[in-house]
């Protein structure tokens, strides 16, 4: 499979008469862009606001992040099964607006899996998205049935953000990319002797799919990953919009759609392919609540890894707590099958750092890269500007915020300063591979 990513490097985003890209500047016709979002009649109120690195701006509640992408010379959707009909992702050409992301931001209402981004100051280090120019879709909807629920599907805002991301990238349809990135990985059984003799590895992904009710989980071509058994996936599909993020997991553990589209572990495996490793491809698994489901998925992964002749695996989970059981079960099954495995996860050691790092442990999980502590307590000063609504952090049950605490008070103070758990930092633990953090003993 061969995918060409036509990269356009966005240095500045502003509003103007026509949506276009020229010399590093992305200009957005706001009215037209809002019309694209409002194609869904459930969007009742909508604005687009730009936040750039260094701005004294806090963004909350953030529900999703997407890199603007559009297929080129084809009717195919950038997010098949989501913004258009199901079609094969990971082939042909896709344009990408690099250095920016479309954020889905609640105008008022937050939910459990939503997060926070500070564009400057101490808080900026907690999330990758402080380094990007964020095109914030700030919206409200008429989804009354979940208005006061802690768990929200956030369907209208999330889908609106995906449409907006695709709309923006369509603006460069006829432009010449500043960089062409070619991602090609041929059939596993048709590789040269030189490549085949290298250690063969798979990347095993465990995206979030724990909600039994449909509408909250990560999707594969628009299909809920809860209704799924592990399967082989081409890495290009992951990078090219076949997967979108969900609306459930505590935010620092979450993989946004942007994280799927730019997955750094896949990028590194590509760069090692043919040099030190034979990158076979991705085994896409999931995360489940019942033991039987966990075992079934773990066994499927080990079986697939064995069938394709994997010597090694990198295993990553999008979650913590209950999903640790899936992570460890899968690790153990892979090791039992003789597949040498390295795991990637974050930890939940509590505010005092003394809790057991993962819900379950096993001595076979002897190689782990760890990316952060969801429960670290963080205090941050007020920001000049808030995009969204600051009170959502405390009021709406975000995983790392609270309305009341005897000792700490509410997460949001009158002066606009905040106290929260790392849990609510938007995709902050970056288990997909960006994380510059690790965990140490104190």
């Amino acid at each position: 499979m061969k995918l060409e990513l036509g990269n356009f490097f966005v240095k500045e985003v502003k509003f103007g008469e026509a949506t276009k890209f020229s010399k590093g500047t992305l200009t957005i016709n706001k009215e037209e862009a809002i019309a694209v979002v409002k194609e869904d009649e459930h969007i009742t109120d909508c604005d687009i606001v730009i936040a750039s690195p260094g701005d004294e701006t806090r963004i909350v509640p953030v529900k999703e992040a997407i890199e603007p992408r559009a297929k080129v010379g084809s009717e195919a959707a950038a997010f098949p099964g989501v913004t258009g009909e199901v079609s094969q992702a990971g082939i042909g050409r896709t344009n990408a607006l690099k250095g920016c992301s479309v954020l889905a931001v609640g105008k008022h209402w937050g939910s459990f899996g939503d997060g926070l981004i500070d564009m400057s100051g101490e808080g900026a280090k907690y999330t990758l998205f402080s380094q990007l120019i964020n095109i914030c879709l700030v919206a409200d909807t008429d989804e009354e049935s979940e208005r006061h629920e802690q768990q929200k599907k956030n369907h209208a805002i999330r889908w609106g953000a995906h449409r907006l991301a695709e709309y923006l990238a369509k603006a460069v349809e006829n432009e010449t990319p500043e960089e062409m990135e070619t991602l090609e990985l041929g059939a596993m059984t048709k590789r040269s002797a030189e490549v085949s003799k290298l250690p063969s590895v798979v990347y095993v992904m465990q995206p979030q799919s724990q909600m039994e009710e449909m509408g909250y989980n990560d999707l594969i071509y628009g299909w809920d990953l809860n209704h799924f058994v592990p399967t082989l996936v081409h890495p290009n599909e992951v990078l090219d919009g076949a997967f979108i993020s969900g609306s459930f997991m505590p935010c620092s553990s979450k993989w946004s759609t942007y994280d799927f589209q730019n997955n750094p572990t896949i990028k590194r495996l590509y760069s090692e392919h043919g040099k030190s490793l034979n990158f076979l491809g991705v085994i896409m698994s999931n995360l489940n609540v019942s033991l039987e489901q966990k075992q079934r998925s773990a066994q499927f992964v080990a079986k697939l890894a064995t069938m394709v002749g994997a010597d090694g695996a990198v295993l990553a989970e999008e979650g913590y707590g209950n999903p640790d059981a899936d992570f460890i079960a899968c690790f153990v099954e892979l090791e039992k099958a003789g597949v040498k495995t390295v795991g990637m996860t974050n930890e939940c050691t509590g505010r005092d750092g003394q809790s057991q790092p993962l819900v379950t442990l096993d001595e076979m999980a002897d190689a782990i890269v760890t990316c952060g502590n969801v429960s670290q307590l963080i205090e941050l000063p007020a920001m000049k500007t808030v995009i969204g609504e600051l009170e959502a952090l405390a009021r709406d049950g975000l995983s790392g915020g609270w309305a009341f605490d005897e000792k700490l008070g509410a997460s949001v103070k009158e002066d606009g300063s905040i106290i929260l758990e790392n849990n609510s930092m938007f995709c902050g633990d970056q288990v997909c591979g960006w994380s510059p953090k690790t965990m140490k003993e104190f």
Binding site: V342, D352, F442
Partner: protein, 348 residues
């Protein structure tokens, strides 16, 4: 100048060896024994007082010893608390850990001790206080006190979070996130680790998994009707006066009690001292934890050969694996000598 207090045992105070191990707690102004070396290394505080307690006194009368020392400390001002070094002396190590844990909790003052890696006090208390790996004997005194003083100075300078790998104290199971100085992203760390693992090279996991000490399941009893069965409990059932002074939590002591003449355990004669559950039902009828009554019936029916003359008891709540294993290893010779074939282990 800030103030430090040092806890030492009767031996290092020059009072005497084993024969003086029942020495009751006392407090002295100024430096005694190891205090000289500690005070010499310590830059940000002076050692103003030394507390001395016999190892046996601390081991056998823990509550009294801790309460007495607590009284001493209430009357003085201090900013940091040291104990030991205890080297390889087991009771001394446990005493240092016990008093450090108490002082840290009651006074909110940081505590530091040192012991050899094989000292049982390490496993028991490394989560409760800073324990530095120390030498086997007093030959390491200067080196061990210098390590204690080094961290002490940093704490007195206002430091709060210290990396185990930098300072050198035993890992305490306190894990926090840090930003790597080299900022190497997780993906690169994972692939580099995988390449090493595939090549059979050494690699360093970022999340060491504690070794589980699994015990293989014993072979089944071939003929139960001839077997001698004992009951061991972590449910804290003891004679009402708790003659062995077993602690209600984080137990380090155990007892065995003769039930050869009993058809069951009577409330009022036996009770539970376990602090981890509602004791009402067990106090009313201790057989619900240690089922002597049912075992006697089995004995009468001929289902089992006999019930061993003693039951063995300790408290499981908060008790470390290391302590539990030590107590079990102390019980086993009695059970073996009596020809016990199998044990029923009950909890709460």
């Amino acid at each position: 100048m800030k103030k430090a207090v040092l806890y030492i045992n009767q031996f290092f105070a020059g009072i005497g060896g084993e024969e003086m191990a029942d020495h009751a707690p006392e407090i002295r102004e100024g430096l005694v024994g190891p205090g000289l070396a500690l005070d010499g290394s310590l830059k940000n505080a002076e050692v103003t007082h030394t507390i001395i307690c016999g190892d046996n006194f601390m081991g056998s009368n823990t509550e009294e010893a801790v309460a007495t020392i607590n009284g001493f400390l209430k009357d003085i001002e201090f900013d940091i608390f040291f104990a030991g070094p205890a080297f390889q002396a087991g009771r001394y190590g446990v005493a240092c850990g016990t008093i450090c844990k108490h002082v840290e909790k009651e006074f909110g003052v940081k505590t530091i001790t040192s012991m050899h890696v094989e000292n049982p006090g390490v496993e028991m208390f490394k989560k409760d206080t800073y324990v530095f790996p120390g030498g086997k004997s007093a030959a390491a005194m200067r080196k061990d006190t210098a390590k204690m003083a080094g961290l002490g100075d940093k704490i007195l300078d206002g430091g709060t979070l210290f990396l185990a790998e930098e300072e050198g104290f035993f890992v305490r199971g306190v894990r926090h996130q840090v930003w790597r100085e080299d900022a190497v992203p997780a993906a690169d760390r994972a692939i580099d680790m995988l390449i090493k693992k595939l090549a059979g090279d050494d690699f360093q996991t970022e999340l060491p998994i504690p070794k589980l000490d699994r015990v293989p399941i014993a072979a089944p009893i071939t003929d139960l009707s001839k077997a001698n069965i004992a009951i061991v409990t972590t449910g804290g059932i003891v004679p009402v006066d708790n003659p062995d002074r077993i602690q209600s939590a984080s137990a380090t002591r155990w007892g065995r009690y003769d039930i050869s003449a009993d058809m069951g355990l009577e409330g009022g004669v036996y009770k539970t001292i376990h602090a981890g559950f509602d004791p009402a039902a067990a106090d009313a009828d201790p057989d619900v934890i240690v089922p002597i009554d049912s075992m006697r019936e089995y004995e009468k029916e001929g289902k089992i050969g006999k019930l061993h003359e003693f039951f063995y008891s300790t408290v499981g709540t908060g008790t470390t694996e290391a302590e539990a294993a030590r107590m079990a290893s102390e019980m086993v010779p009695f059970l073996q000598e009596a020809g016990v074939d199998a044990i029923i282990l009950t909890s709460t």
